[in-house]
Amino acid sequence: SQQGEEDPQALSIQEGENATMNCSYKTSINNLQWYRQNSGRGLVHLILIRSNEREKHSGRLRVTLDTSKKSSSLLITASRAADTASYFCATDSSYGNNRLAFGKGNQVVVIP
């Protein structure tokens, strides 16, 4: 079954603004990951947050995880035109089936 439903689906912002995306999931997880996909390319891993972590930073990325609400958010600060991409969350279920369930993806367009 597909977990991870990002919201909103599409976001258009000006360069320098912050972009926030949300992701919800349905089952218990070991970790939650965010990936970026540039047009015509494969997915690139951005950040992983474990189920016992609440917040994690990596450069201009900030991820939060609320396991009680089964949700996560990805914040990109001071966006750049190069951040234009689709962003996916993916969950690693606690059921140990050794797979990631990917969400539908958010399209982010950063206008220079």
Partner: protein, 111 residues
């Protein structure tokens, strides 16, 4: 150095044909995957191999057959191609379900 490579990048073929997509990873990972991404960018797992053993086999038509000759390679063979098979196919690798490394994708168009 390419971590996960796929060939070909583009594949245009007619209905009914048989085609293969090859994938190789040089990361030393134990697990490899095939995903299908549709036109709405929905990413769906198809297969997963761990150390050459099939561990995930989603509800995929048996026209699709993965083959893993060794830990570094996972190929996908598709028989009797149909229009609905048109999509982008991604290979990925990882150690367990930690971060996955994706190939550049193979855009398959069936006419």
């Amino acid at each position: 150095d390419t971590a996960v490579s796929q060939t070909p990048k583009y594949l245009v073929t007619q209905m009914g044909n048989d085609k293969s997509i090859k994938c190789e990873q040089n990361l030393g990972h134990d697990t490899m995957y095939w995903y299908k991404q549709d036109s709405k960018k929905f990413l769906k797992i198809m297969f997963s191999y761990n150390n050459k053993e099939l561990i995930i086999n989603e509800t995929v038509p048996n026209r699709f057959s993965p083959k893993s000759p060794d830990k570094a390679h996972l190929n996908l063979h598709i028989n009797s191609l149909e229009l609905g098979d048109s999509a982008v196919y991604f290979c990925a690798s990882s150690n367990r379900a930690y971060e996955q490394y994706f190939g550049p994708g193979t855009r398959l168009t069936v006419t």
